[in-house]
């Protein structure tokens, strides 16, 4: 999952980036509005965390311009001023939620998870596909109730496919969402992850949850439990 963090205060930006990297997100950073505008329109992010009080182009203007240019990824705004006028202006500009400073990283994490889940059209963080159950908040996967040991990339690959269950996801799209902007796009590492993932979540090779669509990509084919 790929996230853009827009914060001018270097120390806070680093803290957020470290936290979300450790939580398994692929994180890109922008220190001002101009850079954020460019990155937000150039890369397909899954979510963005934007500070309102940026120098030059404000965070609210950045979100507004992203929306005008058709970006639909969820945006969480960080605001130092907690008054409702500012919150409403941010939400009206196109943000989906807000967190006021100072904040606990756990709170930001929870909001990010909720937004991400909402964007995927899931009501809860726990989703099940037959014997496979995934906790999107805890980032854990169980098979018949037993916890599976997945690497961060394997989990991210699975989560990306699961949140788009039924749709074909190309290798390029997966690469863009699972790796940062400096990643070598020609690598066939995605195929390796998919192979390992299939063995872990379907060791008996009976479920066949991830189907390869030749020339197009992959598709998670299991239907979610109601």
């Amino acid at each position: 999952m790929r996230m853009l963090i827009v914060e001018d205060e270097a120390r806070l930006r680093l803290q957020l980036a470290q936290h979300f990297s450790e939580a398994g997100w692929v994180v890109d950073e922008a220190a001002d509005g101009t850079e954020a505008l460019y990155m937000g329109t150039e890369h397909p992010y899954d979510i963005a965390l934007v500070d309102v009080g940026l120098p030059g182009i404000s965070g609210i203007e950045v979100v507004q311009q992203w929306r005008q240019q058709g970006s639909v990824f969820p945006v969480l705004i960080l605001t130092a001023r907690g008054d409702w006028q500012d919150k409403v202006e941010g939400l009206e500009a196109g943000a989906d939620d807000y967190v006021t400073k100072p904040f606990h990283l756990a709170e930001v994490q929870a909001r990010i998870n909720a937004l991400h889940r909402r964007a995927a059209g899931l009501a809860t963080s726990l989703v099940a596909f037959g014997p496979i159950s995934i906790d999107l908040a805890a980032r854990t996967v169980r098979l018949d109730g037993d916890a599976l040991e997945l690497t961060t990339f394997e989990y991210n690959t699975l989560e990306y496919l699961v949140t788009r269950a039924g749709s074909v996801v190309s290798k390029t799209e997966l690469t863009e969402h699972l790796y940062d902007q400096d990643f070598d796009r020609d690598s066939n590492v995605i195929e390796v992850f998919i192979g390992r993932l299939r063995k872990k979540i379907d060791p008996s090779n009976t479920l066949k949850p991830i189907k390869t669509v030749r020339g197009a990509g992959y598709r998670f084919v299991l239907e979610g439990d109601a």
Binding site: D83, K87, V88, D96, Y98, T100, P102, A114
Partner: protein, 440 residues
């Protein structure tokens, strides 16, 4: 010029100086024209009378005949300024008066119908001509033109005297009017100068408000200024109090931190707890400081504020699938700062969305001259009666208020109190809390 137009008195005086001479000039022109027309009409009538007298004196048998001495003496006296001629229609001179001996007069052909007359000015002479048909005793008809001329000099002199008198009179009136205008401006603008002095007095700190006996036209302005001044004073006081409260309330957790033993097991937890408390205190005091007392800012319609908040909260609480019913009267208005209304409504609606299960209801009535009443209710667990007094903080100092129950509601209570309003917590028919606010 800019200095003159920058002042009200200067503008009015400049306008008078431009308009009055123009106006009085037009009056003078019309008076002169009317007078001239009157004088010329009188002259025409006089000349007509002379012609009629000549007709009475004339005789025509074989030829035209006049007595040696005419009834009008000026016609007998050479160069008297009044002259008479008789010509035929072909401008052939048949007779001239004794006064016309030295006058060089060349009759002209003119197309006049029998019995009609003409009155024209030729150079410096006024010319009145009357055409008649004379029937002689032998039965012949003679067409004759009787002309009387009068020198224009005396009439021009009379007009010149009149014009001079008129110019003097109108000039005097203009000066008098401008003088009066100046005096009127001095007198009329005196209250504004007084107001300016009173505002200076407030600026220098020798007065606290505008208390003069101002004219009714500026009373609305002075009232608004007094409200603004009072509002600013209250705001300053509020900020000062907020800073005092902030400093005071931060000292307790700071003291706890300073006196904490870092080698103790619970030190880290204690630091975390105290920093959370300090953060809450800063949030609370900052939000209190946002609220103002700007009664001057006019009327704010409640509906758009509630609708904006509703849309925003539906976004924030999208995962709860909330039903937010709004029954706000279109006429409901808030007298004050829009940010204050947004802050109170935002906090109340946010709490309702946060603690409600699925249903939130917002209503408002009144405003303007009637008190504004609004309420926010939800279908959550509600607020226990014992907690209500604690949340409202009745009788408690703001900085000692328990913040754990939600900064939002405490801020709403503070802002409502700053408008001399009241906030009540009750049970909602929906099952949760019903928070109602009444503002005078």
């Amino acid at each position: 010029m800019r200095r003159i137009t920058a002042s009200l008195a200067g503008r009015l005086l400049l306008a008078s100086l431009l308009i009055l001479p123009l106006f009085l000039g037009l009056v003078g022109f019309n008076l002169d024209r009317s007078y001239r027309l009157g004088v010329e009409t009188a002259l025409e009538q006089r000349l007509q009378l002379h012609v009629l007298t000549l007709l009475a004196e004339a005789e025509y048998n074989e030829s035209l005949w006049f007595p040696e001495q005419l009834l009008e003496p000026r016609l007998n006296q050479p160069d008297s300024g009044l002259y008479a001629y008789v010509t035929d229609p072909d401008a052939k001179l048949l007779w001239s008066s004794g006064s016309a001996i030295t006058l060089e007069y060349f009759p002209e052909r003119r197309n006049l119908a029998t019995g009609s007359s003409s009155f024209v000015r030729r150079d410096n002479l006024f010319d009145y001509t009357y055409r008649v048909v004379w029937q002689t005793e032998t039965g012949l008809e003679a067409h004759l033109l009787f002309t009387v001329l009068e020198y224009a000099g005396p009439l021009e002199a009379e007009l010149a005297v009149y014009r001079q008198s008129l110019a003097t009179g109108l000039g005097g009136v203009t000066l008098l009017l401008i003088l009066c205008q100046g005096l009127l401006l001095l007198w009329g603008l005196q209250p504004l100068r007084g107001l300016s002095r009173d505002i200076d007095a407030i600026e220098y700190g020798t007065s606290e408000s505008l208390e003069g006996d101002y004219p009714t036209e500026v009373q609305a302005l002075t009232k608004s200024l007094n409200t603004l001044i009072a509002g600013e004073r209250l705001r300053r006081e509020r900020v000062r109090n907020t800073l005092g409260d902030l400093a005071h309330s931060l000292k307790t957790p700071l003291a706890v931190l300073r006196s904490g033993d870092s080698s103790h097991d619970g030190f880290e937890a204690m630091v975390k707890e105290q920093t959370i408390l300090m953060s809450q205190i800063v949030d609370y005091q900052l939000q209190r400081a946002v609220g103002g007392s700007h009664r001057l800012l006019g009327l704010v319609s409640v509906t758009p504020v509630v609708e904006r908040l509703r849309e925003s909260l539906l976004k924030v609480y999208a995962n709860k699938s909330l039903l937010i019913d709004v029954a706000v009267s279109e006429a409901a208005v808030f007298r004050g700062d829009e940010r204050d209304l947004m802050e109170v409504m935002g906090n109340l609606m946010d709490n309702a969305c946060k603690y409600g299960s699925q249903h939130v209801r917002i209503g408002a009535t009144g405003g303007g001259t009637a008190p504004l009443k609004f309420w926010v209710e939800d279908d959550g667990e509600g607020i226990h009666p014992k907690m209500r007094a604690v949340i409202i903080g009745r009788g408690m100092r703001a900085d000692t208020r328990h913040l754990g129950q939600g900064i939002g509601l405490a801020v709403a209570v503070d802002i409502v109190a700053s408008y001399q309003g009241s906030l009540m917590i009750d049970d909602s028919p929906l099952g949760g809390a019903l928070i109602s606010v009444e503002l005078p």
